[in-house]
């Protein structure tokens, strides 16, 4: 699918990965409707995308932790340009597992934001795409969803849950010809990971990830490991015997 003039909705549009994807689309003249909770940041991103070549940019305020608003969010997304070609669900948070272990309310909030909210939204978006018999739903999950690890299993479980949900949704939407893309990045240098060193061969830039997303959508792929080397890495991580895995600090 060519991005020229295509209609794209982005949920969590101030995410660094989402911004990088939006910029690539803007350069191709896309029309974008952006949802985020920070009004100033949203306007800044919109102005940037217009200069970069977007044909139209619409902005909408949204707090994705508030699950009751999701049906309206989905309707607004389709209403902006009378239909959608791509919906990208990008919001999320990277909670500190140790803190969650002592705080069930925070654990629930993390699971709501990283699992319940994105799958509810994806399911709401599914129906109109199904009717249109075209388009793509892309959700950023993570390689962290591939195996539970002591350092990160709440986030990992939420992302893993999304992966399974998307697998089923893809199955459902296959007859309608709607693409469901599960984007699994490794380490990406964004504000979410600013507290980490962000250097070295395993780290990617948001723009690299965005380039992979554009290519995967063009090919109608199902699952994207980005950068590509996370696929062999995760294949190994998943196959390490439990007895051995338990001795690591991963």
């Amino acid at each position: 699918m060519s991005a020229r003039q295509s209609r794209i909705a982005i949920f969590g549009a101030t995410s660094d990965i989402a911004v990088a994807y939006a910029r690539r689309s803007a350069a191709q003249g896309a029309r974008l409707v952006l949802f985020a909770r920070d009004a100033v940041a949203l306007e800044t991103v919109a102005a940037d995308l217009k200069v970069r070549g977007a044909t139209a940019v619409e902005i909408r305020h949204a707090d994705f932790a508030d699950l009751s608003t999701l049906p309206q969010v989905s309707r607004d997304a389709f209403a902006a340009f009378g239909g959608l070609d791509v919906a990208l669900v990008a919001y999320g948070s990277l909670p500190d597992q140790t803190a969650l272990n002592a705080d069930p309310a925070a654990l629930k909030a993390a699971l709501d934001l990283n699992f319940v909210s994105p799958v509810l939204l994806a399911n709401l978006l599914a129906a109109p795409f199904e009717t249109a018999r075209a388009g793509a739903i892309a959700v950023i999950t993570s390689v962290a969803g591939d195996r539970g690890r002591q350092s990160n299993y709440a986030y990992g479980a939420a992302k893993g849950g999304c992966q399974t949900f998307l697998e089923g949704l893809r199955h459902r939407l296959f007859p309608a010809g709607v693409t469901v893309l599960d984007i699994r990045p490794g380490f990406v240098a964004t504000k979410m990971t600013a507290h980490l060193p962000q250097g070295g061969p395993l780290w990617a830039t948001p723009d690299q990830v965005a380039g992979d997303i554009v290519a995967a959508l063009e090919k109608g792929r199902a699952v994207l490991y980005t950068p590509w080397f996370w696929w062999p890495i995760m294949t190994i991580v998943k196959s390490v015997p439990r007895a051995l895995f338990h001795r690591t600090k991963l």
């Binding site: 940041a41 800044t44 991103v45 200069v51 970069r52």
Partner: protein
Amino acid sequence: MAVTAHRKTYSKTYSSWGGVLRAPHEAVLPTARAEAAAALVEPFPNGVVPYGNGRSYGDVGLNPLGGLLDMRGLDRFIAFDPETGLMTCEAGVTLADILAVTARPEADGGGWLLPVMPGTRFITVGGAIANDVHGKNAHRLGSFGCHVEALELARSDGRVLTCSRSENADLFRATIGGLGLTGLILSATLRLRRVPGLGVETEDIRFDHLDRFFDLDAESTGTWEYTAAWIDCLATGTALGRGIYSRSRHVAGVAAQPPARHPHIGVPLAPPISAVNGLSVRAFNALYWRKLGASGRKLSLGAYEPAFFPLDAIDHWNRLYGPKGFFQFQAVVPPADAKAVTGALLGAIATSGQGSMLVVLKRFGEVASEGLLSFPMPGISLALDFPNRGASTTTLLARLEAIVVEAGGRIYPAKDFCMSARSFAAGYPGLEAFRSHLDPAMTSAFARRVGIVREDIP
């Protein structure tokens, strides 16, 4: 990570482009202009330096163990008017991004180009202003600051000021070439330039002695917009100062696509020892000098990338100098005895046998740079790299510094790691006037070394 009411700071390592200095900093990574301005208000225990994209070779953008405002997150365009060419963007936008967005050829091959482009496009607008950078057309269009219409400057007293030639004009002149010491540039409005063809014709001409450089330059300056020469810094005697003169100009109707926003190939790791040494330089220079074949001339037409940004093809080429890194030296000497002084500099370098393959000679013209501490002034500029071989290299640099100061010239802060406070004061008569515009929160390793700010930060 440390969190206070006004900011989050992260302990991160930053290094100079030459790789000689690598040090931890308390970094702030703002993603919004208001956040960046607010971060300045709460005092930093060891002062703070703005950081653009780290393409300065020395210590102007570093403040070891102290505060650092990493501006790369402020990379948004704000507005562009394709009628007037006025472009407003945040300070962390790179020149590569501007070219990608505005320098797309129109139907007639023309388009909006950056009026001034240094030898790399991977620098930020804030860094370009703070060093008042120059390009190969400095003799025609002056330096970067000449094309800045206005900028938004955050000061540590909480004010955010608009500075231009009509508003806060003195602070505007201090901030252009102000090395990040007058406050934090949040955004800027640049006046881009419409060229009738984005593509260029480039002519390379071999010359066998320094004198010929001056002849070729005199012949070219009227009709060629971009001029500079590569010099074989190992040639001595009658061949002293031999090299290749390159000149380019836009050709109406010839289009060129913007160069890539990222390099295609990279150097992932530093080799254990420098790949740039006496042997490799000698071999490279010998081959390069002969690259134009028997005719000694070559004319080409098309993209400007190879002519303007040859080093941008390889990401982190600086790593080839190995773990000890390298020094860069750039100075300009007044026109009157430029020939003799340049000869003396090249002579000292050739005898030491220490130069590298990257040597650029260029004439600056009369177009005045406006900044109080701007580097460009009329005269001849010489720039080159030296692999870091310890004392023998710093001794040579001191010798070059002495020749430059004696001749009434100045050394470029963006490239410098060694200059003394005396040499800086001698080269930059605007220093006294500049001091009254300093922001008390701002500092840098460079500013302390050359005595712009006092050593004893609170």
